[in-house]
């Protein structure tokens, strides 16, 4: 009986005394510092482990390749050899003697063109195959065979057809990235719930309205899966294709560096290719996230 009473006395005594101003300050401050601390911690949790792994790998690489007569340069030498290329990516001495920016941008332009074409054609064909049973029966076996052909196997044929490197490279991008777009779009269209089709039927949407208002939004998550696989494949294909067609482009830059025994430049180029491939993938994934925001089943 006695204990609670004393406890209450103590609690009421405190705010009345010197603690009052502190009480007024504390409710605002700790949450904010806490959020910053939490954000900092979350970032650290994501950033520190890969940094540690990278540092360790660099260390191993440095140790392995450091001794004389090693076939590959250690990271310190790579950096020393390619310092100019890293610091000035924009120089242009004519011909193919250009900064890395120009090589990468030439490759990206080819990918942009080839990939845009394959996105348009892929979604259109995917809709056709997903919507029509006869189109599926007719085209699906063809797609299943064609999609297994490696990208570079198309190159000689396209060179023969176009008689020029540029359109051939774009065609290789196109033919490489179109299959996952077609197949995923078709699956998305086939999986549109019957309920949505019923709604469209009752409302009497015409085929064009059905396409724009029901089909594309309903299949959007699938379409973006296809688009994302497609962008990855087209970036894989462009480097290989450019090695063979020559001219300005990151693929030929790598081949040229190999022919001149500039191993450090190859390593730098690989680094850029990886980063850009990653960014392209994130870009399409981010776009998909924005576009398909509302399509999750409610």
């Amino acid at each position: 009986m006695n204990m609670p009473a004393t406890k209450m006395d103590i609690e009421t005594a405190k705010p009345a005394g010197a603690a009052a101003p502190v009480v007024a300050m504390t409710p605002k401050r700790p949450p904010r510092t806490e959020t910053y601390a939490r954000m900092g911690r979350e970032t650290a949790v994501r950033v520190i482990p890969p940094l540690v792994v990278i540092a360790l790998l660099m260390l191993v690489w440095e140790l392995v390749c450091r001794r004389a007569g090693s076939a590959l340069p250690p990271p310190s030498k790579v950096f020393k050899d390619t310092k100019e290329l890293i610091l000035d990516p924009f120089f242009d001495h004519g011909g193919i003697d250009k900064g890395l920016f120009w090589h990468l941008s030439a490759s990206l332009q080819r990918v942009a063109l080839g990939y845009s074409l394959s996105a348009i054609a892929g979604i259109a064909l995917g809709v056709l195959v997903g919507q029509s049973v006869w189109a599926m029966r007719g085209l699906d076996p063809l797609f299943q065979v064609l999609r297994t052909i490696p990208p570079l196997a198309w190159l000689p044929l396209s060179l023969a057809a176009f008689r020029d490197g540029q359109p051939s490279a774009i065609f290789v991008i196109f033919i490489t990235s179109i299959w996952p777009i077609i197949i995923n779009t078709a699956v998305g269209i086939r999986n549109i719930p019957q309920d949505y089709r019923n709604v469209a039927a009752v409302v009497q949407l015409n085929p064009l309205e059905f396409f724009a208002k029901i089909m594309i939004p309903a299949a959007a998550p699938y379409i973006f899966t296809g688009l994302r696989i497609g962008i990855g494949l087209s970036w894989l294909a462009i480097v290989a294709a450019e090695m063979l067609i020559g001219g300005v482009g990151i693929g030929f830059f790598i081949w040229d560096a190999w022919n001149s025994s500039h191993i450090s430049e190859i390593i730098l180029a690989l680094f850029y290719v990886g980063i850009i491939g990653f960014v392209l993938d994130r870009l399409i994934a981010g776009l998909g996230k924005i576009v398909t925001r509302g399509t999750a089943q409610g």
């Binding site: 719930p193 309920d195 949505y196 019923n198 709604v199 039927a201 009752v202 409302v203 009497q204 949407l205 309205e209 208002k213 029901i214 939004p217 309903a218 959007a220 398909t292 925001r293 509302g294 399509t295 999750a296 089943q297 409610g298």
Partner: protein
């Protein structure tokens, strides 16, 4: 008296390869304008198939549906459906879901501003105007079904088809929505055809209850008039002898004469 909606000798046979299953056999039914008719039966008896035939989503093998003496065999907004699982398009807001139908039905007869006002009017009827900018995933099951009803009402259908509209809801929400639908029927005088498997719901809401025998080859077993005055009050009816008698009749039909064998 001329029938407003007439189901004329409807047979439905599903064929899969060589096997043919007769689902519905010789369904005849006439419904008057402004009438509220329920179709009740055990699951699998073909109630939903019948509703789909009326909606035009499937076609009858034999026989047909006449609406105001004209045959209807394709879907259209004059027979708007409230689907069991609401079927709202998840990428559209509540407002846009209702507007989808309104824009099509009143494309020529109403101006843009009038269509907007009409959408809001119908959302107000089901008390969902406050959620106009929400997406279906952000509102409760009962609210979704309200929006589904608003979408159907907004098309000004000649017949409103309800396909087990309250089946997926909890008991309290269901009762609340039943009251709403009753109030709407009272206010707007729609002709309503409802599929249900809930005896109380059928008796409470309907002017007539159509009881179906078990499939295959389901027929209309019996049609029961519910001579209860409107507006009906759920609580008062609980002790009303007419209500109890009607309820008893439906229960006897479903559980004695046409017991669902597979469920045993």
């Amino acid at each position: 008296m001329t029938a407003y909606l007439k189901l004329d000798h409807i047979d439905k046979i599903f064929t899969r390869g060589a096997a043919a299953t007769e689902v519905l056999k010789d369904i005849n039914l006439t419904i008057e304008k402004g009438e509220y008719v329920s179709i009740i039966g055990h699951s699998g008896c073909g109630k939903s198939t019948l509703l789909n035939i009326i909606a035009g989503l499937t076609t009858a093998t034999i026989g047909g549906v006449l609406l105001e003496n004209r045959e209807v065999n394709s879907p259209g907004p004059d027979r708007a459906v409230v689907f069991q699982n609401h079927s709202l398009l998840p990428w559209l807001t509540v407002y846009e879901n209702v507007k989808l139908g309104v824009d099509k039905v009143f494309a020529r007869t109403k101006t843009r501003a009038e269509r907007d006002a009409w959408v809001m009017h119908n959302l107000n009827l089901v008390q969902m105007a406050h959620a106009r900018d929400k997406r279906p995933s952000e509102i409760s099951g009962g609210m979704k079904q309200r929006v589904g009803i608003a979408r159907a009402l907004a098309m000004e259908p000649k017949v409103l088809l309800l396909d087990e509209p309250f089946g997926a809801l909890d008991a309290l929400t269901r009762a609340h929505l039943q009251d709403s639908v009753m109030a709407l029927h009272q206010k707007l005088g729609n002709t309503i055809l409802m599929i249900t498997h809930d005896v109380d719901e059928a008796v409470l809401l309907s002017d007539r209850i159509v009881m179906m025998t078990n499939g295959p080859s389901a027929r209309i077993g019996e049609v029961l008039e519910v001579p209860l005055a409107r507006p009906r009050k759920r609580l008062e009816l609980a002790t009303n002898t007419t209500y109890l008698k009607c309820r008893q009749r439906v229960l006897e039909f479903l559980y004695e004469r046409h017991r669902f064998v597979e469920a045993a």
